[in-house]
Symmetry: C2
Subunit: 278 residues, 2 copies
């Protein structure tokens, strides 16, 4: 199988590494408008060659689109126009707009909307690594819009990445990911901003940072290029979750203000129920 | 050196394990009002014997107080009353109130207020483990109130735990920890509450949770027994940080509401500056 990977960052790069290593792909053709990313991916052996999108698609059986959500929405109609017998999938964190954009495209059946639930706070081909996807879920969205052969090929691809399939419509996907992924990033970004505000005066705060702070602030290292369009495309859901989240913080604030030990303990114990699920 | 550990949870238990293993303490005498904790610590070999506080102190050269912040404030005057030639230290996450309570105690010089910046989201003697403290900072508060010999012994103890010393007054400590530790816990508790609210209807959110969510929600497994008194004792600082934090979230909310891509990107890029420090 010849594979084209458009976007050679963390996601596309990591997929390329394992799909080659595990025998799913024979040859991998890389595409990236960022010349440094493209050359690095080639230099690190993540891809076998670098070329333009048209040529990469012409040579491939399967195309993975692994670019930020705003670029994906712009590129996907063009990619579908270039599609002949190829199968196409994507790895975007938002799905509703992407699926809308090509809803009536004559080649829609060749496309499988997918979101592998994996990642790190790092980006670029230097962040790509083997094993990134192992053991996590991959969400297939609006799978009834893809034909059986497209879906079969893309499912086999994610099997090679050791991911378990979950199926849902793209609207549900966007609602769920607002809760389990997008809000976590906003939480971390805001924490970093809060601490950085203070740090202007008090440098040695950071001398004291331990594991608890590290884990809540980790995602604040994530890139604006990737996350800004995600929040924009999923604005309605993200705003709804963010409002609920701020209300929960206000509950804590009120309980602490009123020195209401019982209520503080109740809030913590209620939140501890997450242990039963995760 | 004979060591008494009062409170055989994560902190006291982990200290006991490494101080014995690394030869700092010969015999370790444990005290815990929770019978199950006491018996477990003895059964797991974390302590050599279990007894009452009075007896444990009588037999010891150094006493570690490792109980929740509310219990610590109640116990510390009694412990200082029982103090003869012993040195006493604590491991509490809040310091100002604790230090106030015994400010004029005739044995104040035998006490060293310390806060090892380490921990996990788990609690109880079953969570205790070797290496918990290694490589982190320990904060010594109001060290000028302790005499030279007390401080020397407690510093040697933390050297055995591989911690690097940082010195500050207890008020600064409480202000800093509000930023680098306490707020992280509220952030996680509130995230868990937000997602659990939603989960009533939508069970499979959790099927989708990946590493990003796991790391921001991890601390929500932390115990109410430990954290509720911390927020109460450090209310003023925690409320100030929480207000700033909510303002940062409102900044995100506004930018997303207004589809202001540039502002969303700016907020993310500003928060990315945390990379330079952590």
């Amino acid at each position: 199988m010849q594979l084209a990977v458009i976007g050679l960052g963390l996601m596309g790069g990591s997929a390329a590494i394992d799909l080659k290593k595990r025998g799913f792909a024979g040859r991998i053709i890389g595409v990236d408008t960022n010349k440094l990313h493209a050359e690095t991916a080639l230099h690190l052996g993540i891809v076998d060659e670098i070329t333009f999108m048209e040529e990469a698609m012409g040579k491939s059986d399967l195309v993975i689109l692994a670019v930020p959500a705003d670029a994906a929405v712009k590129l996907i109609p063009k990619i579908m126009d270039l599609t002949g017998k190829q199968f196409v999938t994507d790895m975007c964190s938002t799905k509703e707009l992407l699926c809308q954009v090509i809803k009536y495209h004559p080649k829609r059946k060749n496309f499988v909307a997918s979101h592998p639930m994996a990642g790190t706070e790092f980006s670029g081909p230097w962040a790509a690594k083997s094993g990134l996807f192992d053991g996590n879920a991959v969400i297939f969205c609006d799978a009834e819009e893809s034909d059986v052969r497209s879906l079969a090929v893309v499912r086999r691809m994610y099997e090679a990445l050791n991911m378990r399939p979950v199926f849902m419509d793209s609207a549900s996907h966007d609602r769920h990911t607002a809760y389990v992924s997008h809000i976590s990033h906003i939480i971390s970004f805001a924490l970093a901003l809060t601490v950085l505000d203070q740090e202007k005066n008090e440098r040695h705060i950071f001398d004291m940072a331990s594991g608890g702070f590290d884990s809540t602030v980790r995602l604040a290292k994530s890139s604006a290029e990737m996350w800004s369009p995600v929040f924009e495309q999923n604005a309605e859901n993200v705003l709804s979750v963010l409002s609920t989240y701020i209300r929960k913080l206000e509950d804590f604030k009120k309980a602490i203000q009123e020195h209401d030990t019982e209520q503080i303990s109740k809030l913590i114990k209620d939140s501890n129920k997450i242990k039963k699920i995760l």
